[in-house]
């Protein structure tokens, strides 16, 4: 028989042959289709995990850049302003502002406030000659024991002129009299735009290009159009409002030198992601139906240190435990009993015995229920951006980072591929092997100060397992994702000055 003929017999007979399909196959397909619809895009695969990581880095980086640019804007508030207080009420106060380094001088001269300094770059010098003109005899700026900040604004298209944060502290100049009428300072920048300020007893008038004049109370200064002016004035406003707290020169280098200790704990909702690594989906379905995640928890301790600006690094050690209920019902015992019923019939010709033999099969089911525990010792490495204000009771922060699974151990049970029950205990079984897993974590927290050193905080968080932390000898891998809310206390270690 030729090979081709031999092959054709198989081909002809089997090509259109129909085999029985399991009755539940359509249900399984429909269920699988539903499962594959992504509920949340970041759960679907590792690539999305990377997107989450990038997002966290962008948020952290963005927060830093924002803060940094805030400092830059603050930097453009001249540190080197010179103020001359003039007691001569009839004179004009001239504030001449240069883009200079820390070479401020305070001169008292007759009605003139002159700022002098060494210009680091003459090309970048801004020729500004704001004037404060006194319309009334007593409208002068004088020194007094209380403090108040006076700020000159640097207006420049080149930010590199000033590098230091520049709110200048002087003894409080007070505006004497009810009005400082028609006092204005004109700032001409190198782009030929003109901005002028007018002070009017608690109000500051901002004019831009001398066309629009807005009068706003100090509390509304944040609404001024020009961002730089807005921030400068907001700082000024803040300085007026908070006589006991001042930003200092060199604010950019401000750093919280304290170490903090956080102790926290959290209930956790865990969900498991199982990936086949050669095993059949039928087995995984049976395993999945036998296992249900329960509430887990974690607790830990970590140290926190300011690394730059408002960004803090947190690291420590934590214990987490994922709980899972394993329950399965299996046929345990078959008992077959033979039942013989003998009937004796009395007949005239003698007794007749009729035997009726039947069998009775009894099936016993064994219901097994245990709680599986997956325990981990982990190292969190987290960057946190804190919006902390010294005087605020309530503060908030955004955090993101990685949690490295340093050591894991399990106990409990699962099913093997023949649906038998096997132990998953780390000691005495090699059903599961633990791998070093890495998770991404993102959190937002709200904290409340109790005292200068103590604070409490709450921190909702989401944790995404980036890699599989458990590998099974039955051909699958699994990892865990978590959703939780931490409660904790923070202790300031030591009590160093912030500046």
């Amino acid at each position: 028989m030729k090979d081709k003929q031999f092959d054709n017999i198989f081909k002809d007979k089997l090509n259109s042959y129909s085999s029985p399909v399991p009755a539940d196959m359509w249900e399984r397909i429909a269920q699988d289709k539903r499962k594959k619809r992504p509920v949340a895009f970041w759960f679907t695969n590792t690539a999305y995990g990377l997107y989450a990581l990038i997002s966290i880095l962008l948020i952290t980086g963005g927060a830093f850049v924002w803060k940094h640019s805030d400092n830059n804007i603050s930097n453009s508030i001249a540190t080197n302003s010179s103020i001359t207080n003039n007691n001569n009420s009839n004179a004009n106060n001239h504030i001449s502002k240069n883009s200079t380094k820390d070479n401020s001088t305070i001169k008292e001269s007759n009605n003139n406030v002159v700022s002098s300094g060494v210009n680091s770059n003459p090309d970048k010098e801004i020729s500004t000659s704001p004037k404060i003109e006194s319309a009334e005899n007593n409208n002068t700026i004088i020194e007094s024991e209380s403090k108040k900040a006076v700020v000159s604004e640097k207006v420049s298209s080149k930010k590199s002129i000033h590098n230091k944060t520049t709110l200048l502290l002087v003894k409080q100049p007070q505006i004497i009299g009810s009005k400082v009428a028609s006092k204005s300072s004109n700032i001409a920048d190198n782009q030929n735009s003109t901005i002028s300020y007018k002070a009017d007893a608690g109000n500051i008038v901002v004019e831009e290009n001398t066309e629009n004049i807005e009068t706003k109370p100090l509390s509304e200064l944040a609404l001024v159009k020009s961002d730089r002016i807005k921030l400068a004035l907001a700082k000024l406003n803040a300085a007026f409002k908070k006589p006991n707290h001042f930003d200092c020169p060199g604010d950019k280098n401000r750093q919280d030198r304290n170490w903090y200790l956080e102790v926290y704990g959290s209930p956790e909702y865990n969900f498991k992601s199982v990936t086949s690594n050669g095993t059949s989906s039928n087995y995984l379905q049976k395993k999945d139906s036998a296992e249900t995640m329960l509430m887990g928890f974690n607790f830990g301790v970590r140290l926190m240190k300011n690394i730059f600006s408002n960004v803090y690094l947190k690291t420590g050690v934590q214990y987490s435990q994922y709980n899972e209920q394993f329950s399965i019902q299996r046929e345990n015992e078959h008992i077959t009993t033979t039942v013989i019923i003998n009937k004796v019939i009395n007949l005239p010709q003698g007794d007749t015995t009729i035997s009726d033999t039947s069998t009775l099969t009894q099936v016993g089911y064994k219901y097994t229920k245990t709680v599986n525990q997956y325990r981990n010792i982990e190292i969190p490495v987290i960057l946190s951006w804190r919006n902390e204000k010294v005087d605020n009771l309530w503060n908030w922060s955004l955090s993101g980072g990685v949690i490295i699974n340093a050591y894991s151990w399990n106990n409990g049970s699962t099913i093997d591929t023949s649906l038998g029950i096997v132990s998953i205990n780390s000691k005495g079984s090699n059903t599961y092997t633990s791998a070093i897993g890495v998770s991404l974590m993102a959190a937002a927290s709200i904290e409340r100060k109790l005292t200068d050193r103590w604070a409490i905080f709450t921190e909702p968080y989401f944790r995404y397992g980036l890699s599989n932390s458990i590998k099974s000898k039955f051909g699958f891998e699994q990892k865990f994702n978590s959703l939780g809310i931490s409660l904790g206390v923070r202790l300031k270690l030591g009590n160093r000055q912030q500046y």
């Binding site: 031999f6 089997l14 196959m25 397909i29």
Partner: protein
């Protein structure tokens, strides 16, 4: 072309295009019709490739999900059944590749295969032929299925499985010999 649905569903007949369009719109009714129409045939395909029943069911399940997911790629050119069958075969191969496929290099050339009668396999039922194939080692089984039944050339098989065409040829020869031996054994039992 009309497809008659012979189950007890209220749908009497639908054109192939109608079913495909319905499936493309995500209409579950049409998806089920498609499934019911073709799943028995494709179950045979999967059984030919799979090591056991459970694996065949997985293959069929994955195959239909892939069909539904990629239905928009069918261009209404050529046989729709052939297009779906190719997907099922690919899914089956992919499932088998998860476990390394070994192509037996046992030299069984010395085994004497007596001549069988010309129509020996034709006397066997489809179920018996299927059982014979399932008893082949994985490597033999795949090559025999791909070449003898699916009709792929050895070059194509080599490309699909990343093996040499000559390996495919030798595996096919060995698969045929093993099948013939099994048929002889069956005949002996029958006698």
């Amino acid at each position: 072309m009309k497809l008659s649905i012979s189950n007890n569903s209220p749908h009497d007949s639908f054109s192939e295009r109608e079913i495909i369009t319905g499936c493309l719109k995500g209409n579950v009714k049409y998806q089920k019709i498609l499934f019911e129409k073709y799943s028995p045939k494709f179950m045979t395909v999967c059984l030919r490739y799979a090591t056991d029943q459970m694996q065949a069911e997985d293959m069929l399940q994955d195959g239909f999900i892939r069909i539904f997911n990629h239905l928009d790629q069918f261009k209404f050119e050529g046989s729709f059944e052939g297009w779906m069958r190719r997907i099922v075969v690919n899914v089956s191969l992919k499932a088998l590749k998860k476990n390394r496929i070994t192509f037996s290099t046992d030299d069984d050339a010395g085994v004497q295969i007596p001549d069988t009668s010309t129509d020996a396999p034709s006397h066997l039922s489809e179920a018996e032929l299927l059982r014979l194939i399932k008893h082949l080692p994985t490597g033999y089984r795949i090559i025999f299925n791909l070449h003898a039944i699916e009709g792929f050339s050895h070059d194509e098989i080599g490309e699909m499985l990343n093996i040499k065409a000559s390996t495919s040829r030798s595996q096919l020869v060995k698969a045929r010999k093993m099948l013939q031996q099994q048929i002889i054994n069956l005949q002996k039992i029958a006698v």
